[in-house]
Symmetry: D3
Subunit: 235 residues, 6 copies
């Protein structure tokens, strides 16, 4: 039985809290079970060197974990330097959220997304994408209010969910204890209309049959529907 | 007039939330006005090299700020490396909290304090010390429960408060807008019986008369009394 | 038309050269079209700290590119530090090749894989995995000859191939010019029996329909068959 | 008895040697007992980015120790990176010396102060401030001679002295052997008219009563008078 | 007897392969015995800051070794940082190749030389210089073809060779096994007309008589003649 | 005419001051004209990892320059990281001084040499070697006095001197103004009996004829005689 009697295709409880970092242009604290990620957006009036003078914007992400977010304390990356895992995750977040909008509409501005994990219980990269997308929407709305944008740009809603195979059984939205014993794990980044943005799946102990992948994909589609419902709520 | 009609000798509202990082051995979220600092303690079964084999413990601190905690986003120190300011603050926190107990009673263990600023509105180093001390107490109590310590060690309560001179007028517990226009600012780290652990005072624009220091010291003593009342509350 | 009149499901010409770095315990220069990767294996008589005393081995990978391997010269990472992309790729190579064998049979030894790109024309991470797997086999055979292993361990053949969607059309084994205009790209790491080890797929311009993923998966299966034929050749 | 029969309120012998680094715009070798610090000033025709275009100058300091300056050799910071202690000290020196003059008069120039400890016997940060202030004056005089400044700016003389409590007894200007057994130590940065610029005091073993601070402040005032006499001498 | 029955004044077999890195502006794979170095040149349309606006060009070099190039695997410098040995070698290569031409003729362009050792068997720095010089010529010829230069500049042919004293006997072009037992070793960087550009000689076990240096210099002159013959071959 | 009417084969005035860093095991301040280098030796009771358990000692050197030692202030390497030039010089100093004695006699101890340039006027690496050798002798004598060594080991006196060709004329011991206009410069590290330890010569503007090298070698032999006279003086 899964913790909390969750069915195989059930998400953990999800909640949102907007505006927790008032200095940011947009901020969301997303809680999925005991995974809590604070996603904030800063609008900067410049773009990286490779885009200067092209009249378009950029979106980039940084990811971090508080040292005590995890079961055994992790080293502070300000001391140890950024790990390969961190690089990998923040590149994934950035690629995923750049699918949300036509970067031309930003003009020469950068949306900088900070995803900081306050507590980790599996699925932090997915939570960062899901929460980050909502924080981006909040920041864009504020840009409209402040006159930086003439109107709200057309957005592709983006969310991400994990799935895995544990003891031979496909499961949606793994928590840490499931993740650490999984045979396969996967992350699906999806758009609101059910298309895919990024899919990563990894064998943990042995190669797996593609049919298991298909089962995980079906679970992810169900999970996505629940996450996109978050887009309906009030900020 | 001070924001919120505070009198010159008034602290901002203070609140505590224990256990916000359940993986840590002790954790406290301290809010002083809009300054929010998460202080967590990890008990490690080893000591730094310079203490090995001496049968005593150690206590050390690390300090960080989420990038969006401040008015204009700060660079993530995992990227830029740790700043001089961060080094200075975490050394101060460590020195201050080492006064709390006889490190002999810990055996060869280290208490590692993480102070992470979620929102900054002045006084983050003082809040880190005040909150860190309560998190240390929580971790020690847990060590007793888990049998790592035979009994609760004798503790020196420690708290810290800022004071300053703004427009010629001594004020307690500066917020960011006061701090950024202060003529003098000072931090007082105190023990529960009114003695001093560390005092730092800095002229911002011009040298100041020692009498102003005495006025700030009196304000700090009053502020300390309010902070030590936090030691009475429930965890 | 694809360069060299390749059909949509055709691999570029592949060739192998064993033993190009005679000081290594195993080495392979794999050429796939104009992508040339030198994969070498070093056997070390120790394991990382987290495995010490557990009686099992480890396998890890490092990846690099000569500065002039690419269209415009890349910065030497000895100067600039390792990029996020490099971290991401070498973690993928390591995870993939650890599926080749039961690490218990190595005893407390590490297989260290170096994948260095001499020329890049798309698909360097896949070529690193495909070539690295063959270099691992060569190193294990040598360990048997030298008496470090009693017998050749059972191996899972591993290879990787890229696929993508260019102009709406699914294609196998993208070269650089195709990759830089692709709508979707994907990397499939497979075992010799057609199972999956790691699959990563990324939208480049817009979310894509899962059916396109299935089409890429079919192409990858065909490409895999051609790559596993390399396992039949002479060292 | 203190070394050399010093009374509790006695400074160690102080001497100055100007111009020891002829390439610098100002340089002073300050010897206080066996603490020898070489303070040099370089005038640079630019300011840091945050001040550009504002028409004012800047003053900043760097601090270092020769590896063999201390009882047991310290690691060279060019190898180990700068320590937290170094950051803390050089920030203190910079803040203190910026009180010497109105930075507007410099125009867009930076005074860069280098304080390098040749031999350390306690009090190196205070000696750096005291010597640095005299080197600044020398550099400003040279700027007048060379026509970079129309006239000598009005200066606030600055000097610093340590005090401490050893065996319960307040003492002025601790040497290393006193400092390493002190209960409390303090650094007072003062202006020539007896006002304060920066005061730092730290409990070494246990919290201390504010009265001890007052006693140290009185000693520091006496020490300051001796140090400001150095301003009368010939360059 | 030397390996391969080489006489004391014999070079190992030398071969060249041009164009192995087609993305570079010039590239040469130089093999001297089992020492294989890939030398590539990139033409950049800018110069370092210290030369900007002076209308002249620059030439600089970087040197690296693949980890498995050596008998026991070396640490990848992207991980460990650049070693002192690497700095020393690449500075030598840069100084040597800057003697090839009048840098004025380049205009504000930089020739960036990458020397990467694929296999090391002694003499890698000399091989880097010898191969780098030929790669520079190739790049300059291409600049003429592409119209970046009006005509081929006058070149000073440059080549380098090692010599040493092994068991009391002066030898030309040491391989690794000779080099590791040598009493003295030396590197001669020469121009095509027999003049010297850089000479470095080092005692390995004890000071040596200047006469031995003269004997090595004679051997180097002979070796140089063989290397300059490479300048006659076809690209 | 050379500065101070020096003849072509004349050294600048040389002086020694022993014991300037009393915490070191040996220290010498060597002044050659306006080049002032402080050389100190620390005896450490351990050897680097590659020598552990072999029963022999080691000698290694570090080199630094105070920022204001040079005409225009140099960046502090604690901030900027160690430059290639510094690596090159400290490796040369270490190699040279290891020729002074049989490292077996030290037991498993390391002599660590710190050479810090207080003022630079050309020839700092040679001065570091010459001064460092005398500091090593002082430290060894102290080891005998303290009973760490049974008797004074047999020493090879070592010294170094620069030479160059300026305006076509070979000169001994270049100062900065000569060095910066030299056509060729060379450093000779010699033993007391006239043999060579390390010789480095570099063309600055164009290749040079080997005869010029021979002329510089003769000058260096004369300079060496003057430097070895320093070995006769009192400590």
């Amino acid at each position: 039985m899964r913790s909390g009697n969750r069915p195989a295709d059930g998400m953990r409880p999800v909640s949102l809290e907007y505006g927790v970092q008032p200095h940011a242009d947009g901020s969301v604290l997303l809680r999925i079970g005991n995974t809590h990620v604070l996603c904030s957006v800063t609008v900067e009036d410049k773009v990286p060197a490779f885009l200067r003078g092209k009249g378009q914007g950029w979106l980039t992400a940084e990811y971090g974990m508080l040292p005590c977010a995890t079961h055994s304390r992790g080293r502070r990356e300000a001391v140890s330097g950024m790990s390969g895992r961190t690089y990998e995750i923040q590149r994934l977040i950035g690629r995923s959220l750049r699918m949300m909008l036509d970067l031309q509409v930003l003009g020469e501005r950068t949306l900088r997304i900070d995803c900081d994990v306050l507590n980790a219980d599996g699925g932090t990269r997915c939570a960062s994408i899901t929460g980050g997308a909502l924080a981006v929407r909040m920041a864009l709305r504020r840009m409209v209010v402040q006159g930086q944008l003439a109107s709200m740009p057309l957005l592709v809603p983006v969310a991400a969910v994990s799935a895995g195979v544990v003891g031979g059984r496909p499961l949606l939205d793994l928590d840490y204890s499931e993740d650490s014993t999984a045979d396969v794990d996967a992350n699906f980044v999806m758009s609101g209309d059910g298309r895919w943005i990024e899919v990563q799946t990894t064998a943990e102990g042995a190669p797996f049959h593609p049919d298991l992948f298909m089962a995980m994909a079906r679970l992810a589609a169900e999970g996505g529907q629940q996450l996109f419902a978050l887009w309906e709520g009030e900020e």
